[in-house]
Symmetry: C2
Subunit: 173 residues, 2 copies
């Protein structure tokens, strides 16, 4: 069996996803591969045995969490590292805790970037296009709030699209 | 609050999804809105209170199920009703049971079509295009098997794409 590519993400409320998509449909060529999301753990490869351990660890992690609030007030950009514009999630200890835990055993521990919780709304544009988009959005004020009560384990299909494998709801049932 | 549009579906194994997508990317204009799936319950609207009852009912239904096998040997078409070509799921009592239960209280009970378990690979083509696609595939033999151990409740975003709300795994944990 070839290892499968997995990722872990939070889908915010439908309203926040609709807002994000109003930009993504214009500015994000990967728009159709996955709904708007907050990545907790970037893509990683796992065999069938490895992913079972990850699933158990996700369940334990979710069991001990309580729902928590997130807030979005503005956009930001990863420029000059990448031309990615995103809805910035205001500093949030619970998100950081979740993401950190997902980089400890039994999860693969490699980490490419510091964790910056965000919802991408524009990426892979040219430098000029990125400047236009970011320039037009950087002073916009947003007032988006949501309560996070679950995260999802996804895997990637051959065409690049993501399918949800499992939902982990917070709190022991 | 406006009611949200929900649906219930099974995502088959990655391999079956990859096979389905190899056709969908060419023949299905709704390709990018949702990964390949077996619909158990077509779109329905629900308020926040109503969907809570549906979620509870889904959980109960999943608790009492055991994983079951499905098999795909060939394609079929809903023509002349619609120009939809699909991977036909061989007759399966568990799928029928699940879908029937999802049309009893507390689920909305309207049903537009008889339940024919399938994975759409081509739709919304012209009559000629449909004839071409179906003609080229109708004699193909497939040998796809999978074990179903979960179903998912999804909601639809304003742009038509679907996000998974929850995964219901079979068997009491």
């Amino acid at each position: 069996m070839t290892p499968v590519t997995y990722g872990i993400a939070i889908f915010p409320s439908k309203h926040i996803q609709d807002v994000a998509n109003s930009y993504r449909m214009r500015y994000d060529p990967r728009y159709s591969l996955i709904p708007p999301h907050i990545t907790l753990k970037e893509r990683f490869q796992a065999t069938e045995d490895e992913i079972k351990q990850v699933e158990d660890a996700c369940q334990k992690l979710a069991d001990e969490m309580d729902p928590f609030d997130i807030e979005i007030n503005r956009v930001s950009s990863f420029s000059p590292i990448t031309h990615t514009v995103y809805l910035k999630i205001e500093e949030n200890d619970d998100l950081t805790y979740l993401s950190n835990k997902m980089h400890e055993e039994p999860f693969p521990q490699e980490r490419e970037h510091k964790f910056v919780p965000h919802i991408t709304i524009s990426q892979e544009l040219s430098e000029d296009e990125h400047s236009d988009v970011y320039g037009s959005l950087r002073l916009s004020e947003f007032d988006l709030k949501d309560t996070v009560d679950r995260f999802q384990l996804l895997y990637q299909l051959d065409d690049g699209a993501w399918t949800v494998h499992e939902t982990f709801k917070f709190g022991k049932e």
